[in-house]
C-alpha cells in the first residue's frame, strides 16, 4: 500500500533520460517534470529524517537545486536520476541532522552524491520495479533489532558506534545485526530480481 505513490511517481521512469537531457539544456520545465516525478518521494524521505515540514521543504529545494547544478556530469543514457536524487535528498537531510546535533559529517558519503556518474548503469525504472516492492517486504521481515539498526543508519545517518550507543547494545552485536540485515535485504532483492 505504501509503495503505491512511489509506483505512481515512477510509472514513467523511462522518461528520466529525456528529463536529464532537458535539464542539461537548462530547461526549467524539465526541473518541473523531475519534481512532479520525484518531489513527493524525496519530501517523504527527508521529512522522515528531519521530522519538520518547514525544514523538509527547504531541504527538498536544496536537493533539486543540487541536481540542477550538477546534472551536466550525468550520463543521460546510462544514469538513473531517481536513485541519485534520493541519495542527494537523504544526504541533505542527514547533513542537516548532523549539523543541528553537532555531529561529525561523513565527508566520503557527501562526496559520492556529488558524483552523479556513480549512479550510471542502474535500471532506469528501479524505483518502480519489483525490487522496490520487494525491499519493503524484506524490511518488514527483519527482526526488530535489525530493522531498528538499519533505520537508524539510513534515516538518521548514525555510525555503527552511534547505533550501539543509541540502542544500548555492544558494538559487536550491532555490527552483526547490521551485517545480517543488509545480507537479508540483498538476498531478498536479489531473489526478486532473479525471479523477475
Amino acid at each position: 500500500m505504501f509503495l503505491l505513490p512511489i509506483l505512481l511517481a515512477f510509472r514513467a521512469a523511462e522518461g528520466d533520460a529525456d528529463i536529464v537531457v532537458r535539464l542539461q539544456r537548462r530547461e526549467p520545465q524539465a526541473l518541473a517534470d523531475l519534481y512532479d516525478r520525484y518531489g513527493r518521494v524525496a519530501y517523504s524521505l527527508i521529512l522522515r529524517v528531519v521530522r519538520d515540514t518547514g525544514i523538509a521543504e527547504d531541504l527538498v529545494q536544496e536537493t533539486f537545486l543540487r541536481i540542477w547544478n550538477r546534472v551536466h556530469a550525468f550520463d543521460a543514457r546510462k544514469g538513473a536520476v531517481g536513485p541519485w536524487l534520493l541519495a542527494v535528498a537523504r544526504n541533505r537531510a542527514i547533513d542537516y541532522l548532523r549539523s543541528s546535533g553537532g555531529r561529525e559529517r561523513h565527508a566520503v558519503e557527501f562526496a559520492e552524491t556529488d558524483r552523479p556518474s556513480l549512479y550510471t548503469g542502474m535500471d532506469l525504472g528501479i524505483l518502480a520495479s519489483d525490487k522496490a516492492r520487494a525491499i519493503g517486504a524484506a524490511v518488514e521481515k527483519l527482526s526488530a533489532h535489525q530493522r531498528q539498526a538499519i533505520e537508524l543508519a539510513y534515516f538518521e545517518g548514525l555510525s555503527q558506534t552511534e547505533i550501539a550507543e543509541r540502542m544500548g547494545q555492544p558494538l559487536g552485536t550491532v555490527k552483526t545485526w547490521v551485517r545480517e540485515a543488509l545480507k537479508n535485504l540483498r538476498d531478498e532483492v536479489g531473489a526478486r530480481a532473479v525471479s523477475a
Binding site: 505513490p5 518541473a32 513527493r40 535485504l185
Partner: protein, 250 residues
C-alpha cells in the same frame, strides 16, 4: 584486500557505515576502476535507493513546487492576479476619494440649506407676525415723516399682537450702530420703554415687528433713535422717527 574479502562491505559503504580498513580498500578499488567493485557498488547503491523509497508518503505543499521553479528562474505562466488586484485597489481608492468628496459636498450643501431654511422660517415667522398685526380687527395705524428727505412710513399697533413698523428713506446705520425702537409713555416724566433694535436695508427700507401686548392707553408714541448696536437703556440721540399713536386711538 581482494574483492571477495570486501563482499559484505559494499552496502555498508553505500550507507556510510563501512569502517577502515575496508572503507579505504573499497575507495581504492573504485578509484582504479575495479569492475567487480564497481558492479557491487552499483548493486549496493540500488538497494540504498530502494530503502529511500519506503518512507510513508507525506502530503507536500503545492507552493514548494513554485518555490523550486522560481529558484531556477522559471516563473509559472499562470494567470496573474497582481495587476488586477492593483487595479482594483486603485479603483477602490479613486471611488473612495470621489464619493468621499461628494459626501463632503453633500454635507456642506445640507448645512447651507439648513441655514437657509432656518433663516426663511425666521423670516416667515416675522412676516406672519406682521400679517397678523396688519389683519387684526383692532389694529390702528399711524403715519410719520411727511416731510421730504426724512424717514417716513407707518406704524401698525394691535393691543394683543404687538406693533409693526414699516419705514423707508432710512439711512443705513454706520458700523457699530443700530436703530432702537422706543415706546413713549403718556405720563409726564416717565422714561421711554425699550422695544428692541433693528437695521435698515441697503435701500433705506426697514420692517420691524414687536410681538406681544401693547398698553395703548399708556403709550403716546413710538420713536426710533440711532444707538450702539448692543442697545441702550435710555435714548442718547435725537429720534429719527416719531410716530404719534394718539390720533390713531381717537
Amino acid at each position: 584486500m581482494n574483492c571477495s574479502e570486501l563482499r559484505d562491505h559494499y552496502e555498508l559503504y553505500a550507507l556510510a557505515l563501512a569502517e577502515n580498513p575496508e572503507r579505504d580498500e573499497i575507495r581504492a578499488h573504485l578509484d582504479r576502476g575495479c569492475e567487480v567493485c564497481l558492479a557491487q557498488m552499483k548493486r549496493a547503491r540500488e538497494m540504498t535507493a530502494l530503502l529511500g523509497a519506503i518512507s510513508a508518503p507525506a502530503a507536500i505543499s503545492p507552493r514548494l513546487r513554485r518555490r523550486i521553479l522560481a529558484s531556477v528562474g522559471a516563473g509559472q505562466r499562470s494567470f496573474g492576479w497582481t495587476p488586477f488586484l492593483a487595479g482594483s485597489t486603485i479603483m477602490c481608492l479613486a471611488a473612495a476619494f470621489y464619493f468621499g468628496g461628494r459626501e463632503w459636498d453633500f454635507s456642506r450643501e445640507v448645512l447651507r440649506l439648513n441655514e437657509q431654511s432656518r433663516s426663511q422660517i425666521i423670516e416667515i415667522t416675522r412676516l406672519n407676525g406682521a400679517f397678523a398685526i396688519l389683519n387684526g380687527p383692532d389694529t390702528t395705524v399711524a403715519s410719520f415723516g411727511e416731510k421730504t428727505g426724512q424717514p417716513k412710513g407707518k406704524v401698525f399697533c394691535n393691543l394683543t399682537l404687538g406693533c409693526l413698523l414699516i419705514a423707508s428713506n432710512l439711512p443705513q446705520a454706520p458700523a457699530g450702530k443700530a436703530y432702537e425702537l422706543w415706546f413713549i409713555p403718556k405720563a409726564k416724566g416717565a422714561s421711554p420703554i425699550r422695544a428692541g433694535i433693528f437695521q435698515s436695508e441697503s435701500d433705506g427700507t426697514a420692517i420691524d415687528v414687536r410681538r406681544g401686548p401693547v398698553d395703548m392707553d399708556a403709550t403716546a408714541a413710538l420713536a426710533v433713535t440711532m444707538e450702539a448696536d448692543t442697545g441702550v437703556d435710555v435714548p442718547t440721540s435725537t429720534p429719527v422717527i416719531v410716530a404719534s399713536l394718539a390720533p390713531a386711538l381717537q
